[in-house]
């Protein structure tokens, strides 16, 4: 990854993750990588290929399969002034590290006033037939815990700026990468390495009839569906939240006040997902602007099936998203 990017004008989502890590390690000697297979193997998805050679074993640390210990070690390193970037091979495995994340990382600053600059990267999501323990969307577990920022880029060009901002943040950030997007999405030109501001949503398509609030892979589904619906005369405004914590509800509310209708889309399970919170805040802040109930589109309330057709049936599909948008915009 490291050498590949230099002379290319096209990069993948995956390239952008690597470029962001590389740039920040290059810039700041306190930044180091830690996780299973991040060194020798170059990462489960090859994000960190070449990093061991470039930065050496003190800054690219392979660990045993022990997420609790890895995360605890990162917390300790952060306490002595380093800026660890933990990689979870699959976001599903993060539940092993639940205790240090919740009870150590998330509240350290609240307890002591001190910084806790740990970044946790985790590939998540379905569509790869990886089954119930390698396909989950985990943002809602952590969104309920104060003290953890949750960054979920959808567009390749946002990946590196948001990752760099996450590493520089003085407190824990969970950086969730939709692995389905890794090699399917391409950005043009050189990777932007200027940090973005966390907590700022982006209107990625303007529209007048209905607002689609989404993030991560939903951005691409949403943009494709919006393009289709435009042919039927339905104008969809698509908002990429980019970070679900902090939630940029102002951008959402401003859009809903304009369109008077909202649909929330995410790959995570609808039940108690981010859509519930966003929908609730919309009605609290823009009730008198609503022409339709806010609708949520997301996964069914079941574990992700291994069977490809069942998996597709579980997670939101373009037809379902289009139908929801059409209903809300037209009924």
């Amino acid at each position: 990854m490291l050498s590949d990017l230099a002379d290319k004008n096209d990069y993948t989502y995956l390239d952008a993750v690597g470029a962001g890590l590389d740039a920040e390690m290059d810039r700041d000697p306190d930044v180091f990588l830690i996780g299973e297979d991040v060194g020798q193997f170059g990462g489960a998805f090859k994000v960190t290929k070449g990093f061991l050679d470039k930065y050496g074993p003190k800054r690219v640390v392979d660990t045993p399969i022990a997420e609790t210990g890895v995360t605890g070690l990162a917390a300790g390193a952060a306490l002595v002034g380093l800026k660890p970037v933990v990689e979870f091979q699959f976001a599903d495995f993060i539940s092993c590290a639940f205790d240090p994340i919740i009870n150590v990382l998330s509240r350290h600053h609240w307890r002591t006033g001190d910084a806790m600059p740990v970044t946790m990267r985790a590939p998540f999501g379905a569509r790869l037939s990886a089954g119930p323990t390698h396909s989950q969307s985990v943002e809602s577990y952590f969104a309920h815990v104060p003290g953890i920022k949750i960054v979920m880029p959808g567009l390749p060009e946002d990946v590196a700026p948001l990752l760099i901002a996450s590493i520089r943040d003085k407190n824990p950030v969970l950086f969730l990468e939709n692995k389905y997007l890794y090699r399917r999405l391409h950005g043009q030109g050189k990777v932007d390495l200027e940090p973005a501001e966390l907590g700022k949503a982006k209107v990625v398509r303007e529209g007048t009839d209905v607002t689609l609030v989404t993030y991560s892979a939903g951005v691409h589904q949403g943009l494709e569906v919006a393009e289709e619906l435009a042919k039927d005369g339905i104008s969809v405004e698509v908002i990429d939240l980019r970070t679900v914590v902090p939630l940029d509800i102002d951008t959402v509310v401003e859009s809903v006040k304009k369109t008077s209708r909202a649909v929330i889309l995410h790959e995570a399970i609808v039940h108690l997902g981010m859509g519930a919170e966003i929908s609730s805040q919309i009605q609290e802040k823009a009730f008198w602007y609503l022409d339709q109930p806010v609708k949520r589109v997301g996964a069914l309330n079941i574990p992700v099936p291994s069977s490809p057709p069942l998996e597709q049936a579980m997670i939101p599909q373009p037809e379902e998203i289009a139908a929801a948008l059409k209903e809300v915009a037209r009924a």
């Binding site: 008077s260 209708r261 009730f287 008198w288 602007y289 609503l290 022409d291 339709q292 037209r330 009924a331």
Partner: protein, 558 residues
């Protein structure tokens, strides 16, 4: 209490509903009813509803038969206490101490009248004086317990965080008991007093135990409501929050908007279309601002009014599309004049007042001296010259008339000098208002020459912008085209504009004889924020008297 009698009134089933028709009675006289039992059906022009009983008890009398239409608030049925029988009559509420001996029930109501009847005791509740008002403070009781009161008599003063109001009595009768003393704050709907029928004595013991609060006392909540919110477009219609808000802001009757959504639902786009086309205006009752001292029933309308007018946006009404029409771009001057007019109308509440002036005295002076005056000054001795002179003098007596408002800064600036604006016609292409600075320091000759000079500059388009700025008061003079009485628009930032209309020969009474005099109307359009009608009246009267009585010959200085 065994002699308790409750009265159910025609409920208000929507903001703009003023009457209702009894569709059918679901209970008969003598029937026992329980709280929430359907009592009768009501049809309004918006909605049909079953009205549940607000009381447990026995139907004593049906006052309005099925098929009849009566105003909201009309008493339609009397309900006695549970177990009451029909044929027995209590003497009056004052007879209560003996009630356990007397069979419980009510006397038949007087056949006519409908205001009060033997035994009726009304609960008066804290009225809802605004949409968002949750409680009210009793400022003062204007009647004492035992006082006789008539419908609409001021009964008490209520302060809320929005408004202070006098609450008139909704009943004829006697104030039996004051339950909440002055100074106390209670939630909306709290029973604050009891009112007995006319002639009843003020015995607290006579009051029935607290019944569900009397709807007629507030006029806001529908009596025995069915739980559905009263929508801007009428109860029973499913409207989205956005549609409700837009309809309220634009004073639209949603029932007149055809919906394009599922099942005919009115969508955002339908309302926007209605707003753009200026259609579907609600009945005036919904928007009419109620006077401050209006009866309680008018309160909901008063509360709704600001919202209804607050969001109003004027929209262009499409004109004809006739090939014979000729459409031209507006000239810069037309636009400037138009913008000035729009701005003034939007800024100031403008009121016109007028007075008739006998110019005979002035006419005699004019006739005698106008040639000599013109020869000496080059200016005509028009009526306007005399009026301008008199106005400059009188404005010193009425500083408010010669003032400028800054409403945002909440200030009023008084000018101890008169910079007099004179509206000048620009060959029917527009108006300009040259200003005569310190016009109050000029005598008749000075004013006459200044008017001529400024008008000449204006018509020659030689006026500088600074010569059209700084007026403190303005005169417009349609008199030469023989107008009768005109109502101009104030030249901002003035507080008034004087209009001198045509002078005509008219028969007038002089003493006990009829003479022919030169008579004309002078009008003042004034900014009612700056001062009030009395000031205007006095100002115009002084102006008339000076014009009529002044020794103008001496003032001419010829």
């Amino acid at each position: 209490m065994s002699d308790e009698i409750n009265v159910v009134t025609m409920p208000k089933l929507g903001e703009t509903v003023t009457e209702g028709t009894i569709g059918s009675w679901l209970k008969n006289v003598g029937d026992t009813v329980e709280f929430d039992d359907p009592l009768f059906e009501v049809s309004t022009d918006k909605v049909d509803s079953e009205i549940p009983s607000p009381y447990d008890g026995v139907i004593l009398e049906i006052l309005v038969p099925a098929g009849e239409t009566v105003p909201v608030g009309t008493e339609v049925v009397k309900i006695g206490a549970p177990g009451a029988s029909l044929d027995s009559a209590p003497a009056s509420p004052a007879a209560a101490p003996a009630a356990e001996a007397a069979p419980a029930a009510a006397a038949p109501a007087p056949a006519a009248g409908g205001s009060g009847f033997a035994g009726a005791v009304h609960d008066l509740t804290m009225p809802k004086l605004g949409e968002t008002v949750a409680e009210g403070t009793i400022g003062a009781w204007l009647k004492n317990a035992g006082d006789s009161i008539e419908f609409d008599d001021p009964l008490l003063e209520v302060s809320t965080d929005k408004v202070d109001s006098e609450i008139p009595s909704p009943y004829d009768g006697v104030l039996l008991e004051i339950l909440v003393p002055a100074g106390e704050t209670v939630p909306i709907g709290t029973v604050i007093a009891r009112i007995g029928e006319p002639g009843a004595e003020g015995a607290a013991a006579a009051a029935p135990a607290a019944a569900p609060s009397a709807p007629a006392a507030t006029g806001a909540a529908p009596a025995a409501g069915d739980g559905k919110p009263a929508a801007a477009g009428g109860a029973g219609v499913m409207l989205s929050p956005l549609v409700r808000r837009l309809a309220a802001e634009h004073n639209l009757d949603v029932s007149q908007i055809s919906g394009t959504g599922a099942g005919g639902r009115v969508r955002r786009e339908d309302v926007e279309q209605a707003i753009a086309s200026g259609g579907a205006k609600a009945a005036p009752a919904a928007a009419a601002p109620a006077a401050a001292a209006a009866a309680p029933a008018a309160k909901p309308a008063a509360a709704a009014a600001p919202a209804a007018s607050g969001g109003f946006v004027a929209t262009q009404v499409p004109g004809t599309n006739d090939p014979r029409d000729r459409t031209e771009k507006l000239s810069r001057m037309r636009q400037a004049v138009g913008n000035g007019m729009l701005n003034s109308r939007a800024l100031a509440p403008q009121v016109w007042a007028s007075i008739e002036v006998d110019y005979e005295n002035i006419e005699n002076v004019r006739k005698k001296y106008k040639n000599e005056f013109r020869a000496q000054t080059g200016a005509g001795l028009s009526y306007l010259v005399f009026i301008a002179r008199a106005v400059c003098e009188i404005l010193h007596k009425y500083p408010a008339v010669n003032s400028s408002l800054d409403w945002e800064a909440k200030t009023q600036t008084f000018h101890p000098y008169v910079n007099l604006g004179i509206a000048v016609d620009m060959d029917e292409q527009g108006l300009v208002v040259p200003v005569i600075n310190d016009a109050d320091q000029l005598n008749l000759r000075g004013i006459a020459t200044q008017i001529k000079a400024k008008a000449g500059l204006a018509r020659g388009k030689k006026l500088g912008a600074d010569q059209m700025r700084g007026s403190t008061f303005t005169i417009t003079n349609p008199g030469p085209v023989e107008s009768y009485a005109s109502s101009p628009i104030i030249n901002q930032p003035n507080s008034g504009i004087l209009c001198t209309d045509g002078v005509h020969r008219k028969p007038v009474a002089v003493g006990d004889t009829i003479a022919i005099h030169h008579i004309g109307i002078i009008g003042l359009v004034y900014d009612h924020r700056s001062f009030d009608g009395v000031t205007t009246g006095k100002f115009l009267l002084d102006l008339r008297n000076v014009l009529q009585d002044r020794d103008w010959e001496a003032e001419l200085g010829l």
